[in-house]
């Protein structure tokens, strides 16, 4: 058995307590450990990515045979998601360290590692109750990160975040109860087998379970009408945390994709047509809400948060088709959306520190206005889906994949009009932040030699006047560079994703690997 599969879960799980409970008084030590751990995670993720090219690999925890114990399943999709997570995590971590966010409260690095453990565990598990456990881990860790360094607004938003998501967890538990009561198993592959045997006329319970699970995951993916928590959370979270959260919504999207292709997926009579019909309109409305939020935003962080919401809508529109072509498009868009959201939040952090406000109002231009303007421009066109960055290709892939006559009108109008409104909203914000600011006279700081009367500038003011260093801006640029790379190598990436999708839709292959049907026989 390939023990590397569990390594990305165990490594942060062992490292985090050490950072949190042993190194908590020494920031440089915690930083070093955290960076080293994340780098190691990334290396493991690359290794797993390479290993995932064949059939799904299964890790039987406790050496119990499936479906009786818990299994981890490494297939192409989970390896991709793990790799995505670790790359994003590394970028975000460097930003947090370079900007000093990690030292503005307690336990950043420990929570960060736990957070990674939760996300990666959720991607790797092949057991639906275990998925619940990892949802708990990533939820509680994200709550800790969300309220990192405190503040009134942040605590309030954090409370909302955790309460709504705990309600989601409760629903998850209900859904699992219903599922277990109607199928008697928790292993996803086994569920897939049992689901095929449910007669069409006796499927009420499993249909409820499927629907409840979809709602649980849609809550994570911030889909209408349960998207309300996202803007407040992302807008009030520390910016690097918001950037890391770009992968958290994807956990919801991933779960929907996984559960509804494997268990309730196409060809299952019991839940026939159930998920797609509901996801599609919800995703359309989500796009609209995101676009309106971008256009109407008064502050930069909510603007970005709403643009993330809109991109989740686009992603879910593609996923809701549950066809291989659309899924490939969705996966490409997923990678793109993750890094463009991260780039925007990281960029916003640099700007907000220097503007000392995230209100979209006219204020004097900051230092390095041109640099920030360029970063914003690049990240915004990526998010809004303008060429030349991957957002445009992703959008084209999604549109191209959604050709079913029943949905083409709605899907295309929503995606295209949504992009337009987003573009206008970003242009408004950018022109206000970076152009209009140049027409405002800078009230110069008092000359240093005015004597002792002059009040000493506060720490925030000093930070505001300081130009960014390489380490601070490098993570933003790295996120943009990833976008550039997936644009240029869109062809190879998409053909890889085609393979991923094919594996995802190959239910028999997954079931055979997990339950070892052939080897035993």
């Amino acid at each position: 058995m390939n023990h590397w599969i569990i390594a990305p879960v165990v490594l942060p799980a062992l490292l985090a307590p050490l950072i949190g409970f042993v190194m908590r008084h020494d920031v440089p030590l915690a930083r070093t450990a955290s960076v080293a751990g994340t780098l190691a995670l990334m290396a493991i993720a690359v290794g797993l990515f390479v290993m995932s090219m064949g059939d799904p690999q299964v890790y039987y925890l406790g050496d119990w045979p499936a479906p009786f114990g818990i299994v981890l399943v490494l297939d192409r999709l989970s390896a991709l998601m793990v790799l995505l997570t670790t790359v994003l995590a590394f970028i975000v971590l460097i930003h947090a360290i370079a900007t000093g966010w990690d030292a503005r409260g307690w336990h950043f690095h420990a929570l960060f590692q736990f957070q990674l453990m939760g996300i990666i565990g959720a991607f790797l598990t092949g057991d639906i109750f275990n998925l619940f456990v990892f949802f708990e881990i990533l939820l509680i860790a994200s709550y800790g990160l969300m309220i990192h360094s405190g503040g009134r607004e942040r605590m309030r938003a954090g409370l909302q975040y955790v309460v709504i998501n705990l309600a989601g967890s409760t629903l998850f538990l209900f859904a699992l109860g219903v599922l277990y009561a109607s199928t008697g198993t928790l292993n996803m592959a086994d569920l897939a087998v049992r689901m095929q045997e449910v007669p069409e006329g006796e499927a009420a319970l499993v249909r409820v379970a499927a629907m409840l699970l979809m709602i649980v995951f849609a809550l994570k993916a911030a889909l209408f009408p349960i998207q309300f928590w996202l803007p407040g959370t992302y807008a009030n979270a520390p910016a690097p945390v918001a950037a890391l959260f770009a992968i958290m919504t994807k956990v919801g999207a991933y779960s929907i994709l996984r559960i509804h292709t494997l268990i309730f997926g196409p060809g299952i009579e019991a839940t026939h047509g159930l998920p797609g019909t509901w996801l599609f309109p919800a995703a359309i409305v989500t796009i609209a809400i995101g676009a309106l939020g971008v256009l109407g935003a008064r502050r930069l962080m909510p603007l970005i948060a709403f643009s993330v919401l809109g991109s989740m809508g686009t992603l879910m529109v593609a996923i809701s088709a549950f066809t291989p072509v659309a899924t490939t498009a969705a996966l490409y868009y997923l990678v793109h959306s993750t890094f463009s959201a991260a780039a925007l939040f990281l960029m916003a952090d640099l700007v907000i520190t220097r503007r000392q406000s995230d209100w979209l109002s006219a204020r004097p231009a900051t230092v390095q206005n041109g640099l920030f303007a360029a970063l914003f421009f690049a990240a915004a066109i990526a998010m809004a889906g303008m060429p030349p960055l991957s957002g445009f290709l992703g959008k084209l892939l999604v549109l191209d994949a959604l050709r079913d006559p029943g949905i083409i009108g709605w899907a295309w109008s929503a995606v295209l009009i949504g992009s337009l409104v987003t573009i206008v909203g970003f242009a408004r914000a950018g022109s206000l932040l970076f152009w209009k600011s140049t027409s405002i006279a800078v009230d110069l700081p008092p000359a240093p030699d005015t004597g002792e009367d002059a009040p000493a500038p506060s720490a925030a003011e000093i930070a505001a006047r300081r130009p960014v260093g390489v380490a601070e801006v490098a993570p933003t640029m790295a996120a943009l560079a990833v976008l550039g790379a997936i644009t240029i190598f869109a062809g190879p990436l998409t053909s890889f994703l085609d393979g991923t999708t094919a594996q995802l839709f190959d239910r028999e292959g997954y079931v055979t690997s997990v339950l070892k049907l052939e080897t035993e026989g």
Partner: protein, 954 residues
């Protein structure tokens, strides 16, 4: 005939590759920056012209690289006659603009940035005309919108620039997005996104039911880009850009992209009624409207902008006619318009630069002050008016000739008359440009004394005017280019034609004559007409646009802020309601298997318990505002449930439930001390009723589900667990074996959740106690709540006695866990209850001093021990968390079992204990802030000490 030549890709990419260089080279000076802008342009132009002979002889040069084959997107380029003409125009004028801008921009303007944007735009524009793949074309199309956004907003401190840029982006961006839809439909019809394939499938496209939507969407893109009515309004506002940008983007190249696209798609889309009426109609309206507005514009650049709108309308109309000869006229006019209009913009820029005004009413008489500019401007304007011997005349004659042969819905006069009116207005504003700017008396109140600019600045327009005159006199020079380009537009078949000055006496000549005469008369009447124009109310596009925009922003803001106002109760209500509805919908889509279990009779005892829980639940809802009481009742519910577990023979669950219940209620009570004791009423009665209905519906749903599956048997994996617990897990307590072995990984995850919770509580407390909350705590008055005997003797003594017993019980529960009810989780809770009681009895500080282990490290070591236990299995080559167990016999103890699972359970135990204690520690810290004193003695009143003191007193 197609030739593959990969240098085409280099041509297309050169501007992008070179784009960053001027931005960097500006450090070496403005000349260096300009020079390094010209290098890639000139190089690309040279390489392009090397291909010219082959292309003019009818060859098509192609090159392609795979990009995204799954989508049908390839980086495919091709160069035919049309592409060659446009590419040469883009690069040639690009060179001239580079030169002109070097002198036009002032020292304060960031010139490096300008040239970088310019090259980006040039690359995008070049990409449009060379693309052989419509998706690639879309990419370049949107890139022109973006780069022009940057160029229009180049003077970012000017509000006009910013607003113009945003307006242009909104309008052309919208068109671009519509075009994406159109192009995708087109690709859908044809089955390929390759332009060559699409152009070859005109028949199929026009026959398709999707033709009309595709046509409309694509035309939306073209019309917005080429500023056709009713989207024309953005172009004049884009004139806030520096004049080189106006000359380049807004007259010569970008606005022609729409016309180019219509020409390019001509073989695929043209020739239907829909095409004719939409394109011709829009073109006609735009031509006349643009010309009319131009006549009354006083700003030189606005006049030129509207004249550009008008000429773009003329081109659109020509393409709408759908005849090959009209296509020839269009292509020829594109070329001619480029030469004279770019020259005119540069002239306007020179005048603005020298006289510091572009207001025609403040100019006049420049003929004597700026002779060179006068000649350039006049020649170009005459060409614009369509005066013979200049190139504008030739193409305008062809246009009028075509118009004369065109029927509009059976009416042969409408189009020719309207075309003549358009030409007439065009003559009028062209003459006005000449007469009102250059003629008339020299004034003495120019904002700045004008004189001719340096050679570098007038060289570019002079070169263009040279072309104007050359083509005007010797039209056959342009014929090969026009023939090749028009051939490409129509798909190869061209009627016999020759470009010449004299066509004999034709209807077009009469129309032309009417236009020139009428135009001249109109100009003499300009002053009264102008007053009339100014009095007439007109819709001001910018005002409308701004209002629409503000309304859209306001509406979005309202929608967003009303729906996302942070009302948690509403978010939850929506969540629960949506879940209930969707759950019901899912449920009603299918039926159920028949029940396989009989309803059992209800024993009286169970009934009482059931009633007890019901009553308690209802009373929690009723008195939830009295927080203390509500907590107590919640405790009652929890305990009743554990009794239920006992009744149902689930001792493990009962044990866990009791201990969890005890710990949480104790902690909650401690926390309540610092919180308001009542919950205020914050919502109206209807809202509470609404929430009550939602809650009841959801609760009813859950009850229905439970009832349903309690009546049905289902084979489950738990049978395997029962069978293998002892054999494979070494324990007879299946629940514990499931927790630490079968599903030990879940437990591992859950203790990590506990550990994280501990971390968060600590971090949260730090943040809170360093913030305003700490002040609030300090200032609050808790004296009324405080007992005089906080640490009563009875309790201190009782808990001391209990302590070893409780610990013993904890250890016992821990050890027997694997085989009997118990385990690390319960043991951790039991011991923490024992410790908790010490704290309550004697105060935190007193107890803490007697405790050697830090809670932080207790949680940490718990998590690490559990993890390492799991990882230990690797040493045996087994997967994570594989347990091992064996039986030992050490006399005099009886045979006993040791399992690695116990070590794992130890980790669980430590994490639970540590987490509970850390919570307690945090609460006590709050208490300290709230003024709680540190007690040194274990109890407030100690009778033994009292005795000693009494003795002393004696």
């Amino acid at each position: 005939m197609t030739v593959v030549d990969n240098t085409l890709i280099i041509i297309a990419l050169l501007p992008f590759i070179g784009a960053l260089v001027p931005g960097i080279m500006i450090r070496a000076g403005r000349n260096a920056s300009a020079f390094f802008t010209a290098v890639p342009t000139a190089l690309a132009l040279t390489m392009l012209l090397l291909h010219a002979p082959a292309v003019l002889s009818g060859e098509v040069i192609t090159a392609e690289i795979e990009w995204l084959p799954q989508l049908g997107l390839t980086a495919a380029f091709f160069l035919d006659g049309l592409g060659l003409m446009f590419a040469a125009m883009i690069l040639g004028v690009g060179l001239l603009i580079t030169l002109y801008a070097r002198f036009y921009l002032s020292g304060d303007d960031p010139m490096g940035q300008f040239y970088t944007y310019l090259l980006l735009f040039q690359g995008a524009m070049l990409g449009i005309v060379l693309s052989d793949n419509i998706l690639l074309l879309l990419i370049f199309w949107e890139l022109t919108s973006l780069s022009s956004f940057l160029l229009i907003g180049y003077w970012k401190h000017l509000p006009e620039g910013r607003q113009g840029a945003r307006m242009a982006l909104a309008v052309t961006g919208a068109g671009g997005l519509a075009m994406i839809g159109g192009m995708l439909i087109l690709g859908n019809i044809v089955g390929s996104y390759n332009l060559s394939d699409i152009l070859a499938s005109g028949e199929a496209i026009r026959a398709s039911e999707w033709y009309l939507p595709a046509l409309i969407l694509i035309l939306l893109g073209a019309f917005t880009k080429s500023a056709q009515f009713p989207f024309h309004f953005w172009l004049p506002h884009a004139m806030a850009a520096p004049t080189p940008v106006s000359a380049y983007l807004h007259s010569a190249t970008m606005v022609k992209a729409g016309v180019f696209l219509m020409a390019r798609m001509w073989p695929a889309l043209a020739g239907t009624d829909a095409w004719f009426y939409i394109v011709t109609g829009v073109g006609l309206i735009t031509m006349i409207l643009g010309a009319l507005i131009a006549l009354f514009k006083d700003d030189l650049k606005a006049l030129l902008a509207y004249s550009t709108v008008s000429h773009l309308g003329l081109l659109t109309m020509l393409l709408g006619f759908g005849t090959p000869i009209a296509a020839v006229a269009a292509v020829f006019h594109i070329l001619n318009h480029l030469t004279f209009k770019a020259a005119l913009f540069m002239t306007a820029g020179i005048i603005d630069h020298e006289a510091h005004t572009r207001d025609i009413k403040r100019l006049g008489g420049l003929r004597k002050l700026m002779p060179v500019t006068f000649i350039i401007g006049t020649f170009a304007a005459l060409s614009m008016a369509g005066i013979p011997l200049f190139n504008g005349f030739l193409s305008k004659e062809m246009m009028l000739e075509e118009a004369a042969h065109t029927d509009w819905a059976g009416n042969p006069y409408a189009v020719p008359i309207l075309a003549t009116i358009g030409a007439l207005l065009s003559v009028a504003y062209s003459f006005r440009f000449i007469v009102h700017v250059f003629f008339g008396p020299v004034r003495d109140n120019y904002p700045s004394k004008p004189h001719d600019p340096p050679f570098g600045m007038w060289a570019a327009p002079a070169l263009l005017v040279l072309a104007v005159v050359l083509i005007g006199l010797m039209p056959h020079l342009a014929e090969p280019v026009v023939r090749a380009a028009a051939g490409a537009v129509t798909g190869g078949v061209l009627p016999e034609f020759h470009l010449k000055i004299w066509h004999g006496v034709t209807p077009a000549l009469y129309m032309s004559g009417v236009a020139v005469l009428g135009g001249a008369i109109l100009l003499t009447l300009h002053a009264p007409l102008d007053r009339l124009w100014l009095r007439t109310p007109r819709p001001e596009a910018k005002v409308i646009f701004d209002r629409l925009m503000a309304a859209a922003v306001g509406l979005s803001r309202r929608i967003t802020e009303i729906t996302h106002d942070g009302s948690m109760s509403r978010y939850l209500a929506i969540f629960v309601a949506a879940t209930t509805v969707m759950g019901y919908v899912a449920w009603s889509g299918s039926g159920l298997p028949l029940p396989s279990r009989e309803l059992l009779p209800i024993p009286p005892l169970v009934f009482v318990g059931w009633i007890c829980i019901l009553l308690a639940t209802v009373s929690v809802a009723l008195m939830h505002r009295q927080r203390f009481r509500a907590l107590v009742v919640i405790g009652v519910i929890g305990l009743t449930i554990s009794v239920g577990f006992v009744y149902l023979s689930a001792p493990d669950l009962a044990l866990t439930q009791i201990s969890v219940e005890t710990v949480t209620i104790m902690l909650l009570l401690l926390a309540l001390h610092f919180l308001p004791k009542t919950t205020p009423i914050e919502s109206s009665v209807p809202r509470r009723i609404r929430d009550g209905v939602i809650a009841l519906a959801a609760g009813g749903g859950v009850a229905a589900l439970s009832y349903t599956f309690l009546l049905r048997d289902m084979p489950s994996i738990s049978e395997y667990h029962l069978a293998n617990s002892y054999k494979g897990g070494g324990g007879t307590n299946v629940v514990n074996v499931i927790l630490v072995d079968f599903r030990g990984y879940d437990t591992y995850g859950e203790i990590i959740v506990l550990g994280i919770a501990g971390l968060i509580i600590f971090a949260l407390m730090e943040a809170l106690l360093n913030g305003p909350a700490a002040r609030k705590l300090r200032n609050a008055d808790y004296s009324q709540d405080r007992s005089r005997d906080r640490h009563p003797l009875m309790m201190v003594i009782a808990t001391r006695v209990m302590m070893p017993v409780a610990i013993m019980v904890g250890v016992y529960i821990f050890l027997r866990g694997h085989n009997q009810p118990g385990g690390g989780f319960v043991a951790g809770l039991v011991i923490s209850i024992a410790l908790l009681m010490q704290y309550m009895a004697s105060g935190f500080a007193w107890t803490l001093r007697r405790q050697q282990i830090e809670y932080h490290s207790m949680i940490g070591s718990g998590v690490v021990i559990a993890g390492l236990t799991g990882a230990g299995a690797w040493l045996g080559g087994k997967p994570f968390l594989t347990s091992g167990f064996d039986y030992f016999h050490i006399p005099p103890i009886e045979e006993f079992e040791l399992a690695t699972a116990m070590l794992f359970d130890l980790g669980v135990f430590l994490a639970v204990l540590g987490a509970v204690m850390l919570m307690l520690y945090s609460l006590s810290r709050i208490a300290r802030y709230a003024g709680e004193t540190v007690n040194i003695e274990p109890m407030d009143y100690d009778p033994s000490k009292q005795v000693v003191m009494d003795e002393k007193e004696k």
